[in-house]
Subunit: 204 residues, 2 copies
C-alpha cells in the first residue's frame, strides 16, 4: 500500500517507530507535495477573481504544473522508502555471496538518485512558486511564503539524504559528479527562496 493512503496520524506513527523507513527521504518528498498543494490553493484563490483577471491564464498554467509536481512528489514518498529498504536488504545478503558488494553499491546509487530527483522537483516547484507569489491573490501571500519555506526545507532535506547515501558509494567519479550538481542546485534553490520571500515580505 502507498504510504499516502495512510492517515496522517498513522503515517506519523510509522515515521516515529524504530524502523528507519519511512524516514527523512520520504519526509522530504512529503514536504514537496505539501508545498505543491499550497501553491495550487493560492492559484485556486486567484482564478476567477476580477482583481487578478490579467494573471488568470498564467495562474491556470502554474496550477497545472504544481498539480503534476504534487503527483510526482507523492510517488517519491514511496520510492524513497523502497530505495532505502533495498539498501538494508543488500546488507543482509550472505557475506560470502559474490554479488553482495555490487548489490550494496547499486542500492546506494538508487538511494541517492531518488532524493536527488526530489531535490530537482523542488527547484521546479520554486520556479512556479515565485510567479504565484508575485501574481497570486495577496490575501494568501502567507500561504505562498509557507509553500516556499516547505519547498526549501524539502530541497535541503532531500540533499541530506543524497549525501548520506553518497558516503557509502565507492565510485568516486559518480560521487564527484553528484556533488558538483548539488552545489549548483543549492545555489539555485537558495536564490529562488530568497527572491520569493522578498515578494512575500513586501505584503506582510
Amino acid at each position: 500500500m502507498s504510504l499516502t493512503e495512510e492517515t496522517i496520524r498513522n503515517f506519523l506513527e510509522k515515521v516515529a517507530d524504530s524502523s528507519p523507513t519511512p524516514g527523512g527521504g520520504s519526509v522530504a518528498a512529503l514536504a514537496g507535495a505539501i508545498s505543491s498543494a499550497l501553491l495550487e490553493m493560492v492559484c485556486n484563490l486567484t482564478i476567477g477573481k476580477e482583481k487578478y483577471k490579467e494573471f488568470e491564464e498564467e495562474m491556470k498554467i502554474e496550477r497545472e504544473k504544481c498539480r503534476n509536481y504534487r503527483e510526482k512528489f507523492i510517488n517519491l514518498i514511496d520510492e524513497d522508502s523502497k530505495a532505502f529498504d533495498e539498501v538494508i536488504s543488500a546488507f543482509k545478503l550472505p557475506k560470502d555471496y559474490e554479488g553482495r558488494k555490487e548489490a550494496i553499491q547499486n542500492a546506494y546509487k538508487k538511494a541517492s538518485a531518488v532524493p536527488l530527483e526530489t531535490a530537482e522537483y523542488c527547484i521546479k516547484l520554486m520556479e512556479s512558486g515565485i510567479k504565484i507569489a508575485e501574481k497570486g491573490n495577496k490575501n494568501s501571500i502567507s500561504d505562498a511564503g509557507v509553500a516556499s519555506l516547505m519547498a526549501k526545507s524539502a530541497f535541503h532535506s532531500a540533499i541530506l539524504n543524497v549525501k548520506i547515501n553518497l558516503s557509502g558509494i565507492k565510485d568516486s567519479d559518480y560521487v564527484q559528479k553528484t556533488k558538483n550538481r548539488i552545489k549548483k542546485m543549492e545555489y539555485e534553490a537558495e536564490n529562488l527562496h530568497r527572491k520569493t520571500m522578498e515578494v512575500v515580505e513586501r505584503w506582510l
Copy 2:
C-alpha cells in the same frame, strides 16, 4: 473529523482546493508533527544500542518529550484551521450587527495566537533536536538534520501566519508585544537550527 484522520492524499487535496483552510497555518503544525516523529525515530534507533548506552536514559527522556510535542502539533493542525474559519465567519456577520467589529478582532487575535503557539512548540522541539543530533545514532544523522529543517520551516511558516493575522488587529499594544516576542523567538530558532546543522554536517 480531525484533519489527521484524513489520508495524506486526501489531506493534500483539501489543502489544494479553493477553500483557504486547511492552509499555511495547519501546514506549519503538520511540519512540526513530522519533525517530532523523525526525532522520535532517531531516539528509537539509538535506544538499546550498546554503542550509545551512555545516552540511553537521556534519549528516553527526549523521545517522551517529542512524543508529547507531536500530539500537541497534531491538535494545532485542527485548531489553526478552526481559528481561521472563525475569522471568515466573523466577516460574514451582517454589516449592521453591532458586535461585528469586536467579533472580527477577537477572531483575528485567536488566529494569531494559535500559530504563535505552534512557533513556541517548534523552539521546544528544536531544543530536543540538538541533543538528539549530538547523542543519537549517527546512522540516522541525516534524519536529525531533516527534523531540524522541518522544525525551522514549521517555525517560520507559523510566524508568517501570526503576521498576516496581526495585520488585521487594531489593538496596537497587542500587536507590538507580539512583534517583540516574535523577534526574540526568531533569534532563538535560527540559533538552534544553526547549531544543530553544525552537528549534522560534521557527520556528512
